[in-house]
Each structure stands twice: as structure tokens, then as C-alpha cells.
Amino acid sequence: MFLKRIALAGAVSLMGSAAFAACSYENETPIKSLSAGFEAWKAVTDAMAECGNFQAELDQEFRTKQPAAFEANPSLYHIGGVSNGTITPLLNAGTIRPLDDLVAKYGENLSPNQLIRINGQIMAVAMMVNTQHLMYRSDILSDLGIETPTSWDEVYAAADKIKEAGVVDYPLGATMKSGWNLAQEFVNMYPGHGGTFFNDDNTTAVNSEAGLAALGTMQKALAYTDPEVLVSDSTYVQQQFQQGKIAMANLWASRAGAMNDEAESQVVGKVAMASAPKAVADGAPATTLWWDGIVIAKNITDEEADAAFRLAMEGLDAEMVKGANDAAIWLVQGYEPTDIAAGAIATATANPAPPAYPSTTQMGLLHTALGNELPAFLTGERDAAATLVAIEEAYTTSAKEAGVLE
């Protein structure tokens, strides 16, 4: 009996290892990848692993590792997972290769929309779009007779009613963890108020009317959020939603799938997605558009690059999307948008459309300055005008050190 069970277990595990029959070929070249760690990347790297000889590193700190790892010769990774924000250092250092040849060879299933061209050359292949948009508890809003908010004023009016009704701990959640997340909130809000980040001479233009308006809108949120909002990142807000503690948040589309994950969520089917709220009535939704995708390192042999790209195409095929349809807003063939994609699509197709995250060397510096200087405003230690001056000064100091400003 016991022997039989062992034999059976052995057979099952053999079947398991034969599972890379699901891949259309067997990969012979060892390939490594480094990417972010959210659900969509897990689906893609799992699909690549089916071909064998593949090692994936999923790390939320990938952005600090990637530039140095790709600059090594030979590069420590063959495939990199990037977004339009994190591709900049790789492009600047010239550590990723143009993909035109490889796309011609293996990319027959890619749509033109996926090919990220920089000066005409394909430098990356996008797999999904991402944006921060409004997620809300449809049951609570319809119970209280609130229309889906389309602007921040309406969001706060709705939050007021929800607070009065006392149905959740906090009406609003926000990704305002000091540092990158908080800065990103401003980067969403500021163009929404019609602001531009830089003047022609690379000095920053945030110290303006639009800057004051953006800060004002952000500050209003504090009346409705958890008092500990300055430590809350995307995962924290996602969990607050899943545990039924908040009713609305401007959260990443890549987090939408988790709302219906029955293993974690107590609010399955109750969270709806809508376009990111507008900051001003006739403006664009106050958010930025992002894409995530893959790049191939330059400092590897052509054979390795060939194998890596072929493997990546296997990970980005219709079969993978079928298995993880709700993990992201896929750009890959075979994706069928469901209800949870409605908000992201509405945001991306809005007229006027929100801008893509303006990733440049200067923007990196400004993002850091924002992340460091905004907390003092939200804790009430400094007023809006002084905060904008502080951001301008912090940016100027670091821009001079980086050589961007004279």
C-alpha cells in the first residue's frame, strides 16, 4: 500500500516536471530575469519557466538593482521587467539592446501597440498598461444613493456621506506612504490641475498656482483617511479594501484583480472600478498612464539574446493571458476585458487623456524632492507655499549636483 502510494507520488511528480510540454519548445540556454513582483509578473515568469532553464527574480526593489546589474559585463540578467518609469536609467546608460531583429523573427503575435519605439527603434515590448484609478465599494455607494464620483470634489462629497453613515472605518484609502508613493500622488494631481513640471531651462515649475491647487486637493483627503496614511503603500490600501475597512481609493489597476481573490478578500464582487477622478471639471483625469514590459540586456551574446527574447514571447502569449486574464490590463493578444478593467479603459480613453508618466533624469530628481518635502505639509508642520518653495530648493540642489542645472 505504502509502496504503491510512493510510486503514485513519483508518477505525479514526473508529470509535473513534464509540464513544460505546455511550452512549444524546450529552452536550452540558461536565462535569468529581474522584474517587479506583482501578480502579472508572476503569471508571465511562470509561463516562461514552463520552457525550462529559466530563473526568475521577482523583487519590488528591482528598480535599485536593475541599472547596476545590467551595466555588468556580462549582464547579470538577460531579461528585465521595466515600466515607463524605470526604463530611463537603462536607456541612458545604453545597457539594453534594440529589438527590431528579434521582433521580426519571433514577434509575429505582437500588436504594433506593444512595441515601444524610442527614436524609431524598438527598445521594449509592453505587456500591460497600468494607471491609478478610482476603485469603490459599489454596494456602499448604491446603498447611500451616491453616483459614481467623477471629480475629486465629488469624491470628497461622497466621502462625507460615507463618513456620516459610518459604514466603514475610513471612507478613503490613499497610497501616501512618504517617499515615492506620496510623490506619485502629487505627480497625478498636479497635471490634473493643468500644471507642467519643468521650464525650458530644466528648472522646475511646481511652485505655481497649479501646485497650490494640487496640494489643496491632496490635503482634503486627510479628513477621510486613516490617520496613519503616511505609512500606507499600495499593498496596505489593497488590504484595507479587502478587509472592508475603506470604501474608495485611487489605486493601481494592477491591484484590481486582488479584490475578487476569494482567499484574501472579504469584498468579492463588491468593488467596482471607474475612471480616475478629475481635478478640474474640463481637465484630464488626475492620474498618469504607465506600461510594464520587457527589455533585453545589451551585454550578453546574440545567441543568449535570441533565446531570451524567444522565451519572453512564450511568456507573453495568449495561453498565459487565458490563465491570468484578471491579473492586469493586458496588451497581449487574447485578453478579454472584464468588469475590473472598466476603470482603466475609461481612464486611458478619456478625452483629454491623462499624460504618460514623464520619465526623465530631471523627473527622477523631482520625484525624490517631492517624496522628501511633501510629508511636512501633510503633517501640518509647513504650509503649502513654503512646501512648494522647499521642493523647488531641494530639486535645484540635487539638479546642480547631477549636472542637469548649471
Binding site: A93, A386, G403
Partner: protein, 341 residues
Amino acid sequence: MKFKTFAAFVGPSVFMMLLFIAAPLVSVFIQSFQVTQPILEQVEVETCTPGFLTQTCTTETKTVPVLDENGKTMTETSWVGFQSYRNVLQMDKFWEAVGNGSWNDINQIDFWRALRFTLMFTLLTLPMVLIVGLAIALAVNNAVRSIRGPVIFISLLPFIITPVIGSLSIYWLFVGDGILTRLMEQWSGQNISMFAQAWTIELLMYFFRVWNNAPFAFVIFYAGLQTVNMDTLESAVIDGASRWERLRHVIIPHLMPLIIFIALIHLMDVYRVFEEIVGFRSQAHVISLQWLTYDFMTPDDAGNRAMSRASASAMLTMIGIVFLLILPLRRTWRDHKGSAN
């Protein structure tokens, strides 16, 4: 000892110290007076971003680094004197704030905010660690022999936990509806948010550091207590000295060299406070000097690092430690000379 034998013993560790401590220190010192910048050029770049159905392409002027023929970024390094120190210290703003007599304004300058916390944290945890450590040592020393082993084991536990892990555990116990916050809320009947304001965060930091460091003091004191002269103690009892008087006049003077030793280690250690800031995610409310250096060094999404300011900030931290150590070191030196005579 013959000089040759002495050199053979000391040689390896001197070599290691030169390689891993002195050399990096010299390099950081030099870098703090330099700025290394990539050579930049302005180019027109057309970038395409996928929308949901079609792409939008924009052409804009971007500032990008120039690459040499090997594909490496070309950089130039220049000497800038004390510029990086000025950028970190921001003395002009500091004096202006002092002129206005505004504590809040001083607190808005990163370096001074970090210095305020780091100094206060170092100086306040020192007596707490000494007192708690000594108390545990005395308790264990007076405990019945049979329970001594388990008590020592339990008292040492916090010391074994890696500070990052320890601080994260405290964070998870108290954040949002963490177990301990829940308990306190039930107890007090009101909503408590430990990470919403600076003073509660700092309180947790003090608690964590004392909890984590007291066992070290305890081990040292406990060893010291084993060598207290029993004759002196007994004669003190006969003279009618109370427990407190025996502690004050016999035990503490005996332990004095150990107290200085622990103080030295503690000052060096705690001035580099870092784990609490990262573990508690307290950047919005409380930062430390070491965290400031780390923040300068962390690359942003575009790959920029403020290495020069990081070097300057690291040098300033080291100068701070040297200042703090002067007092206890002078005392040790005097004792050393005294015993030599």
C-alpha cells in the same frame, strides 16, 4: 613579547582594518569634496506610449548622458570644496531659523531634524539601557540558582533578534489594527494610531532600542557582578549598610569600568540608528543621520544618486561620533594612566 611575535599576531587584523575601514573612509573623505557628473547633451527624442488601443507618440527634448565608444557613460569629476557639506548642512537656512527663534523652521531642514533625533535618541537610551541592564543583572544574580538558567536565556532573547526583523515585528504589532493596538483600544475605549504622529513613533523607538540593547549590558554587568569582592560586601553588611548603600558605594564603583565600556559601545552603536526608521517607515515624522546618508545614496527611478552629499553626510556622522566619544575616552585614558603610575 618580541616585536616580531607581536607583529605576527596583530598584522592580519591591522591589514583588515586598513583594507575594510581606513581605505573606504579615505575614499569617502575624498568623494565628499568632489562631484562626479555625467556629460549631458540635449537631444530630441520620440517616445511612444501604448494606450489601450493605439499608441500616442510625443517628441520632446530630453537631457541624456553622452556614451563613449565602449558604451559607458562619460563622466567628469571636479573638486567643489565644501559645497556638498554646505548642501547638507544648509547653514544659511539654519541661521535664518535661529534668527527667527523658530524651532519648527530648524526642524524643516533635513540635517538638523535628523541630528535632533539622533542626539536625543543616543543620549536618552544610554541611561535607560544601563539601568535596565543593571537591574536585570542584579535580579538574576539574586535569583534562586535553579531558575537562573531559564531567566538568563529569556533575558538574552531580544539581543539575538536582528534589529531590522525586531523593528518590523514591533511595526506589525502596532500598525493599523495590529494586535497590540487592538488591545490598547479595547482597554482605553478610543481609536489609537501609533504611527500617525511623531511622539508615539519615537516612544516605540525608545522602547524597541532599550528592549533590544539591554541584554548586552546585562551580560557584561552579570559577569562583573561575579567578581565583586565578597569581603567588602560582608563588612558593609556588618557596618549596617542598606541594600541601596551597598549598591551605591560598593557594587557601582566596582562596575565603573564596565559602565564606561558599555557607554562607549552604546554611543557608537546608537548614533548610527537606522533600522527603526526603515522598519517603522517613519520618514514622514522622524529621520536619523544614517537614514539621511542612505536616502542620498538610494537611486531614484532615473538612476540618479547624490553620492557627494551622501559622502559629506557620512563624514558628518563620523565627526559626530568622535565628539560623543571624547568624554568617555578621556576618562578611560585617565584611568589607564592612573593605574600605570
